[in-house]
Amino acid sequence: MCLAIPMEVVSIEDNVANVEVGGVKNQVRLDIVDQVPAVGDFVIVHAGFALRCLDRQEGLETLKLFQDGLGLELIK
């Protein structure tokens, strides 16, 4: 129900981040994000607002597990 996509933070001015995905640029508000992103971070964007920062480390670890054929081991 909630279309949200990761977009890269290009710059930040006060409460607004300039973000980009595939060359398309937009601005998003940072009023509800729980950690202020740094330039180069990815934020999950929904309806003009950043929801959270994408935890790339987590994502990469998950992918590595898949690639090692251990997809199920993520249930801790």
Partner: protein, 360 residues
Amino acid sequence: MSLSNEFRDPDLCRNLLEQIQHLADTPFRFMEVCGTHTVSIFQSGIKSLLPENISHLSGPGCPVCVTHDSEVNTFLALAKEDVLLVTFGDLMRVPGSRGKTLKAAQADGARVNVVYSAFDALQLALANPSQNVVFLAVGFETTAPTVAATLKVAAQQQVDNFFVLPMHKLVPPALQALASDPEIRVDGLLLPGHVSTIIGLEPYMFLAGDYNIPAVISGFEPLDILQSILILLRMHKEKSSAVINNYKRAVADQGNPRAMEVMQEVFKPVNTAWRGLGDIPASGLSLREKYQNFDAREKFNPAPLHTESNPGCKCGQVLKGKILPPQCPLFASVCTPAEPVGPCMVSTEGSCAAFFKYSL
């Protein structure tokens, strides 16, 4: 890199599909409650690749579809006032009583603007001070905080020509209504990834705790969905149940406390009627007193058309996973995306609409 492409890798997906095939030796029914999951499963072709034993049900996961006729009638009534209605595109074709829509109202002369963000609606109000602007606020917990944040800014700037019609709904109460229905038979739930970025894991714990239904918070890429199905299948076979966060790159177990705080500062839970599901306690949001002056109902007192329900419509049963869309007698004959009768056909994310649009 946003990793989205990596989570679509066809080889990794094929690997997971094989594992699913291997485990699915008995019938297994899972339900997803997020329209974006519905679309993803159909659009990516996953639906056509899951083994026959696995039934995929789509629940009440689209906040637009479950917007009640009375709510639609209310904003259609507002369309007749001297206001600029501002809305997400999703609402334009949702029918109220007698099949009336915002799109039709627009053709009749109502002033309606489509925006992508609640904040854009506020900016329209700021740019047009002599014009009353009403924003139609739909969405689940992913969207409600964005509207709340917008209202906070409006309050700070003392904007007096911006109003909101709150129609937000909350997911956990709906899940509670589904889980407590004795007729529901679901072996696992796929939980909405982006709602969960806000609310975290805790509000879903009752599913495993009280009802023994395995539940997995899932992302939306094919790899996310396939892995989540695999996890549900594994729990089903082991006869265990737990609530698992399988979208850790976006969802923290504790959710986003700041967004929750902002949402709760502006909104409070109220009993609300869901299209197709009926009244669900504490499942909607209304404005707290401090923000009452932004309430469009208070300001304009719109007189909506009386709500009539269609007796042939089986959306309630579809939304609860009791029947599949093609089993509704109205499906694809009387009820189509062009002329939807009930909520499941209304939005492109509704289960009936998805079936209609993508099924071979």
